[in-house]
Every structure is written in structure tokens, then in C-alpha cells.
Symmetry: C2
Subunit: 208 residues, 2 copies
């Protein structure tokens, strides 16, 4: 994988979704301009983003949809399955487990952990909840690279350190905490509180 800039990487899922809906509609070719118009982006931006996949458009036709989908999925690494564990089987964790969208990204949750003894052995979304004692052993045995962290804020840092020590290399952090870990671990945060703060604030300004 070449070093594609992160802003382009972040747009790729939007392109993918749109391309797949063209394909369902029976379309086989699409121009960067059409894709740009449909997504509300500038066509220069889309042209650049698509060029980064290594594919070239054909004059008058644009891009053949199937190879373009494949190339973008390849760039995202979504053509390969990524195994992950989920830590924290509360409301949000259980929701994310049930969210069917993940399979589109190749993300597969293979095990679920929670510190609550009452949850042990119970199932959420068809998966058994395992005790935290089993966490380190599971990670070192399976070499699983990624964890989805949905524990409460208070225990997020402690749990993240446990994950790092056990060998996890990427954490998708849904806890409202900025984790402090070594640079061996990549942390990607989804911060609902910040997002809502931004919305509240923009809404107020828009009304002035």
C-alpha cells in the first residue's frame, strides 16, 4: 500500500458506498465528475483521490466500476478480513456488535470481553462474553491485531494498557478519554461527546 493521505482514505468509504449503489442500479462506468456531483465534492478532489488508487479513467467513459471498487477496497485493506476483539459489553458495545455495517469493512469481531462477573458466559448478539482474565491469553494465542474499546471512561486507560501489554496494535476507542500509550499502538478515537459539543455550538451560532 502506497502512502495515501488520510483525508483521501476517509473519503474512500463514501466513494465505495456510492459506487456499489451505481452497480446495483446496473451502471458499469462512472466519471469522476458524476461521482463528485453526487457526493457534493469538487471534481478535482475526486479525480485526485481516484488517481491515488493507481487506476486511470478512460476518456469519455470514466472509470469501470468493478475494478474501481476493488482498487479502493485494496487501498483500504478491506478486501482482507480484519479480526478484532471488543472490550466492554455495555450498551454501546452491544450496539456496535449488532451493527451490520462492520462486515462491509471486513471487520470481524471474534471475541467479546467484559469485567462484570454477572455478564460472564452470557451472550450478546450471538457472542459469548468472556472474562477479562482471559484477555491477555486470548490475544497472545490468536495474535489478533485490533481491539474495539467500549468500556466506561474510568477504566479506559487501564484497559488500554492491558491491551497494549498483551500485544494489541490498533485500538478503536469509543471511550471518551484520550488514551496515553506508546507509539507501537495506533489509537483511533470516536468521540460522541466532542461531536455533540460541536453540533450544539454550531447550532447556536447558526441561530444568532
Amino acid at each position: 500500500m502506497k502512502s495515501i493521505p488520510l483525508p483521501a482514505i476517509r473519503r474512500y468509504p463514501l466513494y465505495l458506498r456510492r459506487l456499489k449503489s451505481y452497480r446495483i442500479g446496473g451502471t458499469m462506468w462512472v466519471s469522476a465528475t458524476t461521482l463528485a456531483d453526487d457526493l457534493g465534492f469538487s471534481s478535482i478532489l475526486v479525480r485526485k483521490d481516484l488517481a491515488l488508487t493507481g487506476l486511470e479513467g478512460r476518456p469519455k467513459y470514466g472509470f469501470a466500476i468493478d475494478p474501481l471498487i476493488e482498487a479502493i477496497e485494496e487501498c483500504l485493506g478491506w478486501n482482507n478480513r480484519t479480526d478484532a476483539i471488543l472490550v466492554g459489553a455495555g450498551n454501546l458495545g452491544s450496539a456496535l456488535l449488532g451493527y451490520s455495517g462492520f462486515s462491509q469493512y471486513g471487520l470481524e469481531i471474534t471475541a467479546v470481553f467484559d469485567s462484570d462477573p454477572d455478564k460472564r458466559g452470557k451472550k450478546i448478539q450471538g457472542k459469548s462474553i468472556l472474562s477479562m482474565d482471559k484477555l491477555a491469553g486470548f490475544i497472545s494465542r490468536t495474535h489478533i491485531p485490533m481491539a474495539v474499546l467500549t468500556v466506561p471512561a474510568d477504566s479506559a486507560q487501564r484497559t488500554a494498557e492491558l491491551l497494549e501489554d498483551a500485544g494489541i496494535r490498533g485500538i478503536w476507542n469509543f471511550a471518551p478519554v484520550k488514551l496515553k500509550l506508546s507509539d507501537k499502538v495506533v489509537v483511533q478515537r470516536v468521540d460522541l461527546a466532542s461531536s455533540f459539543a460541536e453540533l450544539s455550538s454550531r447550532l447556536k451560532r447558526n441561530e444568532l
Copy 2:
């Protein structure tokens, strides 16, 4: 509310959470430096962010925690309740409804809508699901300002237009779609696909 820059607004929830945990621990004063260290930010940044609330620290003591919490909540508008409806009672919608964190932001979901006739009248997280026919009437009657959009991608644009026409002024968009609306409506997107794309890509680079 003064015009506090959005990056500061996005950090305020992190400060809030940390300040509240100091308070639970019995602490009454905190310095910008301590807050900065605990959160992994530079102290200059934290000092600037806190100054934007209009409060001043006291030499040697720093900030009194209670007034600081109040001032930040005031800046975020979280001291007042924000009513919102939730549109789309699928997995993600139902999870967000059950997510107790929202009440901390003053966000209150007052009604839930879904287009699926089979869901009509059923309850999720203690709230009855209403039919989409009732949406416009409900919004114009209650003057509710905000909607949380958790419908599938295919129906997101259509539903958002409906919300705009009915008078909604802010949309928290969880559908993986860039909505095209007039500038009367503020849209804040939470894009799980983009976030996961970024994580996958950074994880790959970190391993090279």
C-alpha cells in the same frame, strides 16, 4: 455565547469529564498544568481553552473546580436541556437511545420515528416508535430543534430533506452519507466507516 473556536469546543467535554472526576475525588482546585498533564495536552493549549470560558485562574491555586465546570457547561450549552428526536430505530438508533452518556450533555430524546410498519407502536429503550407520517406534525407542534439521524444510507438524504422541510435546524447524522441541505440546517456527521478506514490505514503504516 462568544465565538469559541470549534477545536476548543471539541476539547471541552474531555475537560469536563476530568474535572468531574477530580470533584468526585474531593479536589476543589486544579491548575491548567495538572489538567494538561492528565489529558496529555500542552499546558499552553489548556490555559488558552480555559481562558475562553471567561474565568481566570488564581495564582498558586489555579481554577476552582465547581465554577469551572459550570462555565464550560455554559459555553457548551449543556446547562440547558436540548430536546431531539431520533429517526431510524435500527441497531445503531436503539443503541444510541440506550446510551446513558447523552444525558450528561443535556441531550434528551423525546420521540423516536421509523418507517418500518412492523416497528410502529413497539417500544425501544422505553420509548414508543412513531410512524414517519407523524414526523412533520410533531416537529412543527413541538418546535423541536434537533434530530439524530440513524436511518440506512439509502434513505438518509430523503429523510434529511423531510426533516429540513418540517423545521429541524440541527442534524446529528450517523448515516454514512454526506447530506446536501440548505445552510439553514447544521449537520454534524459521525462517520464510523471513515474512522475505521483511517484506523486500518494507520495500523498498516505503523507496521511497515
